[in-house]
């Protein structure tokens, strides 16, 4: 150290100078914090993803009104008339869809809620998933011209049948029920609102046809709803591709709590503390030498 160092003479202890140094160092620490913090990551947006909370005990697969659903975070998705395919529609009843999900490590259940002024036998709802790693167009996995797309897995429910139908499609006109039926569904109508529960095991024996749920991994999800009302001539207004649809969003079954991050952080902090200790000790040895 040079003999003229301000840290080693009386002048450096002048209160005015100290104030200046303090303010400089505080600013420096703030700047370092900002840099190390990596900027401002965007906060999670609600209604970008449906998250299935992990619960213990039986899932309410047959009860859309079960109290257990109150513990599931709702995600709200806007709906549009289906316009992509030529047999389109310009106006639909359902404008928004609220979705909740739960899983118990072996099964997953979704609750779809939406307003519908009338209870009709042809009221229907569906959930659509991408299958595997290939991207699929949100309109029934419609073939894309420059991209090799994959199929979609569709879970369908209609009021008059009140059961789930497990289906597959790779473009409009290709929709067909699976030979295996793994999906359960049940709807209940009350006070101008439909509540429909879909459920299935997280994984199936048909990964090429069914969406597979791996806790912690996001998969693409979309929705469709048909209001089964009829026009003056007795014809269904919403039917087939004439329906309310959503865009692709995300679904994730939440993984069990993972505390390893805290362990790694603790180890790193202890190592940093040790580094400081060794460094200061070496510096002191150097000073005394």
């Amino acid at each position: 150290m040079s003999p003229g160092s301000p840290w080693g003479n009386e002048a450096s202890m002048n209160p005015v100078k100290l104030t200046v140094q303090w303010s400089v160092y505080v600013k420096w620490v703030l700047i370092a914090t900002l840099i190390m913090g990596g900027g401002t990551d965007g906060l999670a947006q609600e209604s970008v993803a449906v998250r299935a909370s992990l619960v213990s005990g039986a899932l309410p697969v047959d009860d859309p009104n079960a109290a257990a659903w109150n513990g599931a975070a709702p995600a709200v998705f806007p709906m549009s008339p289906q316009v992509h395919w030529p047999d389109r529609i310009q106006e639909v009843t359902v404008q928004d869809l609220t979705v909740r999900a739960l899983h118990d490590g072996t099964q997953v259940a979704f609750l779809l809620e939406y307003n519908d002024p009338t209870e009709d036998p042809d009221d229907a709802a569906a959930i659509e998933f991408m299958v595997g790693d290939k991207k699929a167009h949100f309109a029934h996995g419609q073939p894309m011209l420059l991209v090799d797309g994959g199929p979609v897995n569709i879970w369908f429910w209609k009021h008059k049948d009140n059961k789930g139908v497990d289906m597959w499609a790779k473009g409009f006109g290709t929709l067909r029920p699976h030979s295996h039926q793994d999906v359960k569904a049940k709807g209940e109508y009350a006070n101008g609102k439909w509540r429909v529960v879909f459920s299935r095991s997280l994984v199936t024996e048909h990964p090429d046809e069914d969406m597979q749920v791996t806790p912690g991994r996001f998969v693409n999800i979309a929705f469709a709803v048909w209001d089964g009302r009829k026009d003056a001539t007795g014809q269904l207004i919403e039917k087939g591709s004439q329906k309310a649809v959503s865009s692709w969003w995300y679904f994730r079954a939440e993984p069990p709590p993972d505390y390893s991050g805290y362990l790694y952080a603790g180890v790193a902090a202890v190592l940093a503390l040790g580094f400081q200790f060794v460094l200061i000790r070496k510096l002191k040895e150097g000073q005394s030498a």
């Binding site: 160092s5 959503s246 952080a265």
Partner: protein, 239 residues
């Protein structure tokens, strides 16, 4: 001597302010990613360290205060600050490690190219339909029938069918949409629709119909004229 530390701190602070707040506001520039800012600051710090340690005197002047601060010898009223730093540093390392290793609960990030390059056969196509008031009027009529449910009667992307779609329908009144594009580009996008986008355009998310299956080319060219006229925009040209 106190200047030996204050000066590098000021330089680093000014450098950070320039990178974070000044550069992004220069026309044609954009906000720098935090990783790039960190890299530039590390380069600046390296330069400062090299400069301040070229001679034995400057080296002592540079490192001396830091050594005294760390060892706590004769630093008087700065002792509480020293303890604060010694506690803060391990906590900061732990926090950064947690952020780096904790599993992310966020959906995958998506980066969509809004105007991807069209296939070569569409580049430079010229609208073959004469730009007459009648043709523009007819194009607006086709637009009202086929496009306005999503793109809006006011060409603003706020049609009654738009609300559920992500990405939202283009707002033609926005100067960053059709005003930046040539008519040939619109012809490609209308003709092939969302499913005709390349992978960087995320074709699986676009609701845009493949209008070539429903409309003749002449109607599409007229729709393009109607769109530009209705949105009070002009096609981009090479002049």
């Amino acid at each position: 001597m106190g200047h030996s530390l204050i000066r590098p701190i000021i330089i680093m602070g000014v450098m950070y302010a320039v990178l974070k707040f000044v550069l992004p506001n220069i026309p044609g520039s954009a906000a720098l990613p935090s990783s790039l800012i960190l890299l530039y600051l590390l380069l600046t710090l390296s330069g400062i360290i090299i400069f301040e340690t070229v001679s034995a005197e400057s080296k002592d002047a540079f490192w001396g205060p830091m050594q005294k601060f760390l060892t706590g010898d004769n630093i008087g009223g700065l002792k509480p600050f020293r303890y604060g730093i010694l506690i803060f540093f391990p906590l900061l390392v732990g926090w950064q490690t947690y952020n780096a290793t904790a599993p992310s609960g966020q959906p995958p990030t998506e980066s969509r190219v809004i105007h991807p390059a069209p296939p070569g056969e569409y580049t430079g196509l010229v609208n073959p339909v004469p730009k007459t008031p009648e043709n523009i009027m007819q194009g607006k009529g086709f637009y009202a029938a086929f496009c306005s449910p999503c793109h809006g009667a006011n060409f603003d992307g706020k049609g009654p069918a738009a609300r559920g779609y992500n990405p939202p329908p283009a707002n033609f009144a926005d100067p960053t949409t059709i005003a930046m594009l040539q008519e040939s580009y619109l012809f490609w996008r209308i003709k092939k629709g969302g499913v005709g986008l390349p992978i960087e355009g995320m074709p699986w998310k676009s609701a845009m119909p493949r209008w070539e299956l429903e409309l003749p080319d002449e109607w599409i060219w007229k729709i393009i004229m109607g769109e530009y006229d209705g949105a009070h925009q002009s096609p981009r040209t090479w002049e």
